[in-house]
Symmetry: C2
Subunit: 113 residues, 2 copies
DNA sequence: GACCTTAGTAAGTAGTAGCTTACCGTTCGT
DNA sequence: ACGAACGGTAAGCTACTACTTACTAAGGTC
């Protein structure tokens, strides 16, 4: 199990974390830079970054005394695979349910089998 | 409000809710059926279903005294679009960061405004 | 009709997640 | 070497969230 999908979903469930994540999508930034664009304290940002990093949604690169955070495609890909797993099934289920609903609402038309 | 992606992510952040979601991916089920496959009480299941329904991840169809829950492609599609939005950027950022890392130490350039 | 099944809501509780301030180690500039 | 900027960690508080046990309503069966 490479890169737990649950961790990714839990990480992005928090609005502050989503903001940070979306910020880093524009360009890599240091912690102070991120903090300037977000209404929480710097330690809070650090804590969020730790969660995002554990979920492999972001990666760090040290640059002098700063640490430049950027997006890590790894976690993104993990969650993408997770949702792809359900996509076909969801469409099929929807089609079947829609069919059932249409029978109850419209007594006419379409008797396939 | 076209299917808030945040709501979808928050809904699937909970393990119990993910279990229910994945159960319904196999086949539509009633609340008691779901409860039988999950280690929580039936009211808890109802509460989770409400969250999933608000996020448009599941849909309900009344069938007599039961309510058959099934996947709703709407929420799934919303979150898929959300992640697609970052996919290209994440890959580009990753390539750039990998490039930066590959060069050794460069004391020049890069100045914060 | 009586009565059982199904399921959503109310009210209350325990645990955890996110925030803060304070502190400490590193790295750069002078 | 000293001081300042950067950033991660610790400790503590608050608020929310997931869970429970009632209770209530609606539909189906006899």
């Amino acid at each position: 199990m490479p890169t737990n999908q649950g961790a990714v979903l839990e990480a992005l469930a928090d609005p502050s974390r989503r903001s940070i994540f979306e910020l880093l999508a524009e360009r890599p930034m240091s912690v102070v830079e991120i903090t300037a664009s977000v209404p929480i304290s710097r330690p809070a940002v650090s804590q969020h970054l730790r969660v995002l990093k554990d979920a492999r949604l972001v990666a760090v690169r040290p640059s002098g005394t700063r640490r430049i955070y950027s997006l890590d495609p790894e976690g993104l890909d993990a969650v993408r695979r997770y949702f792809e797993r359900f996509w076909a099934g969801a469409l099929a289920a929807y089609a079947r349910e829609a069919d059932v609903s249409s029978r109850s609402h419209h007594p006419s038309e379409e008797k396939s089998s």
